[in-house]
Symmetry: none
Subunit: 223 residues, 2 copies
DNA sequence: TAATGAAGATTGCCGCAGCATTACGGAAAG
DNA sequence: CTTTCCGTAATGCTGCGGCAATCTTCATTA
């Protein structure tokens, strides 16, 4: 396992490197973001440990830059700021984990391993469908440049269809995407949502159509 | 997004469900591990939120059981114990993340999203047959890049044949694949389906042919 | 090789399951 | 209080699919 440590406190960095080494981890160390950027492009790190407060900028702003450059490595933020709101900010910007100082090296290792267990698939969470761009993570639908505002249930249906656009989605899959097991459905509620969603998509000229596969499910098709 | 919440504090669970709902997350809730196990097998949850201290056991011991059963869902542990060493223990046993109470719902959402940046399905048993790619799980048949729209019963016949392509499939096996116990058959309905399916496959130039083994069954052969 | 019966193939019929749409009203949101 | 959401049910429509009649193919016999 190979890590890049971006940290300006020399003593902490050195101690971490030694500790990580004992766990069989190879660690590269740099103190500047500019230098870090080149290193990430040249090497394929399993994970990047990123201090937030750095001499040449905020570590947070570095994350989008990396992601845009196609860097798939897991990113774990190290910081003294460990307020919940700060952590939310870091995770939402694309970090994989957030670790507040002080921490045990064992915990860092454990978190790195946990992060590495999940295949990095940060590439393209957004789905293009017709004239829409759908962000399934944040449940956001953009139509051209404007936000398409959809009711919650219709939105869930659309996202479920978009995730498998061009392929059939089982009726049961759609139901599971919209309802939990407590909310039993005794009627054609799903059909209602489909119908209303169809109307909305057509009125908005979204460039997609929902087809039915009788007895099987539905299918989102671009037109 | 669909979660399973395993939590014995009713009020917390209810509050979480409501909060998650506002983020477009469908949440199932149970208070017991035994019940939870069945739910995970029946549903394909994106993530499982697991309380550590539960009436019928320690949540931690539940994790290996799930993994052994082939459950791939992300697991996030919720707990009042937030000591570093405890967290290490949880992560090492196979959890994807660890969240100490109290926490902000926004942080939970953010962590779930971070954990979910992984390929949607780890199991992909698609079958190639002729020019088709058949997804037996989603009952989806792609012919080149377009969906091949088949009626339900013909689709079931095709999937059953494709699962054993190149080998003979007993007539009784096909009947079992298309009809359940309640639907008893009093005619040559299966023959009808075979006939119609053959026509559709030929019209679509699917690159396969269904042969009959007299007195035994049928056989899907690529050509 | 021809006769014969059984198994399979094909096709029209049409009942009804499954789907689409919409109005209504309660509930929830703002 | 107003507006939107959404579950329910009523209504109409479409085509799947079970049935049966008819034709075709195959295996077995003399």
């Amino acid at each position: 396992m190979r890590l890049l440590l971006i940290e300006d406190e020399k003593e902490l960095a050195a101690a971490l490197s030694v500790a990580l080494k004992k766990h069989g981890v190879v660690t590269d160390h740099t103190m500047q973001l500019t230098n870090a950027f080149e290193l990430t492009l040249q090497n394929d790190y399993d994970a990047i440990l990123l201090d937030r407060r750095l001499p040449d900028g905020d570590g947070l702003t570095f994350i989008p830059k990396l992601r845009r450059a196609g860097v798939k490595s897991a990113i774990i933020i190290l910081t003294a700021r460990n307020e919940p709101l700060e952590r939310v900010e870091g995770l939402n910007i694309g970090a994989d984990d957030y670790l507040g100082k002080p921490f045990l090296v064992e915990e860092l290792i454990a978190r790195v391993r946990a992060v590495l267990r999940r295949p990095a698939q940060l590439a393209e969470p957004s789905i293009a469908a017709g004239h829409m761009v759908i962000d399934p993570l944040h449940l956001n639908v953009m139509l051209d440049t404007a936000v398409l505002d959809l009711p919650r249930r219709e939105l869930l249906v659309l996202v479920a269809l978009a995730k498998r656009k061009g392929r059939t989605v089982l009726r049961s899959t759609l139901e599971a995407a919209v309802y939990n097991y407590e909310e039993e459905i005794q009627s054609n509620a799903l059909d209602s949502h489909i119908s209303r969603l169809r109307k909305r998509l057509q009125d908005a000229s979204a460039g997609v159509a929902i087809h039915n596969i009788r007895g099987v499910g539905y299918l989102l098709k671009e037109e």
